[in-house]
Subunit: 144 residues, 4 copies
């Protein structure tokens, strides 16, 4: 009897500190800067799986480029706060993947986004298949 | 016989130059920085109507804060390019408004976003009605 | 016979990862962004001594503002590199202090700066004495 | 009788508007961001002389990289202010040049810096002679 399929949702957590550089004159994190936090989290997740983007550019000529995003600003983050970026993969296609990323402070959601990222051939700026070794690591994460 | 209603869509255009500060190691504009261009355009539009945000903060204790956004990355913008941010108002509510903003290069869409902005009381960080004089200027724009 | 005076120079080390947001189209860290790394290091040093800038603003109405800096760019840092910001205090006056800050990669200096910071009364934007408890902690560090 | 040598100092002026993205939670322009304003001014000056950096990278394989700078922060600039970046060339060498750059608000100096920039071969990241056509345009500016 086969084991029931378990949809394990792998989640990656990255703490981020808010510095002056992240804030603006309204006293809160500038709205574009949450996207920097998200990108750090995606990069560190990939790194934790054994892949570095500068290395992928050299070895495979590829990069991951954001294609679309939808984001909600729930609360304002402020100087000196420690936030946590919580990332998971929502969908994994042949040449693109979709992340769900949420920024929390003390368990409350500050910012949440769904971000579609495409694997592109840097020289031609065209979509290309995600390298097999990365796909496998991501699929293993999803427990599929 | 009443005149047919004319939905005049006021549009504000702001040229933006891409500098090194806007780009990243992939040779293109960093994905979060398009949001900076959009915010410059919203600010200049408001200024062209006679309102400055620093003045509104002092006189009315208000600020405009982004509540949500949905964005599509169509093409990659690069160093030295001149882009145009084309903004229009999609919806005008009592305490919030929604912008459609598009960034073009030579007539082609590079980036497009729908951005919902709320008027907030800065001291309490709570939504508050858009000041009447701003509402009137924005409604006049929409030809309604 | 008295022990020889030992000029112990307290040094604070902060690792910093280079992300896409820090780089530019020349493929290297954008020249202004080294100053962000330095500021993170000064902030974390202060925090490690028990002081948070947002708290100092609320409790004492003060902030630390950079008055002058001199910097040398020795090497170019790149995407994915881990840098170390090494900070020490060069001079401690009544209302200002001078930091020596160096950014290293694998033991080689990438960037070095001397930065003079003043303690200011935020409301009046005027220099004011560094709070006694901070002075004492900084002086203790210097072994004086 | 020869005409007296006239040390005409060519000066380039660029207006810059302060947006939310430039400010921080202290309510003023973040200290690293003045360097972004300076770089925009150097770039626009070069462009006004007929040279674009992205074009120079493609045609000559060169870029201008900052080697050192010394800066003084005189006043704090704030949201919505219009600043003027006033640039002149202090020294022009074979492979490097030094700028004096000042940021003014209503005639008062907000920020001033001396910035040494080197012409580098991008592929080798080594200093290389400033292209003759650029040298000539810069020398003509200096009235030498």
């Amino acid at each position: 009897m086969p084991a029931p399929i378990q949809h394990v949702r792998a989640v990656f957590r990255l703490p981020v500190r808010v510095y002056y550089e992240d804030t603006d004159a309204a006293g809160i994190v500038y709205y574009a800067n949450y996207l920097r936090f998200l990108e750090r989290a995606r990069t560190e997740w990939l790194r934790s799986l054994g892949f570095e983007q500068s290395q992928l550019a050299r070895s495979h000529g590829i990069a991951f480029a954001v294609r679309s995003l939808a984001a909600d600003y729930h609360k304002a983050a402020r100087l000196d706060e420690v936030l946590t970026v919580i990332s998971e993969i929502d969908a994994l296609g042949g040449a693109q993947l979709t992340f769900l990323q949420r920024i929390e402070r003390d368990g409350a959601t500050v910012f949440a986004a769904r971000i579609k990222v495409a694997c592109i051939d840097v020289a031609r700026m065209k979509p290309v298949a995600i390298p097999a070794e990365i796909r496998q690591r991501l699929q293993a994460l999803k427990g599929e």
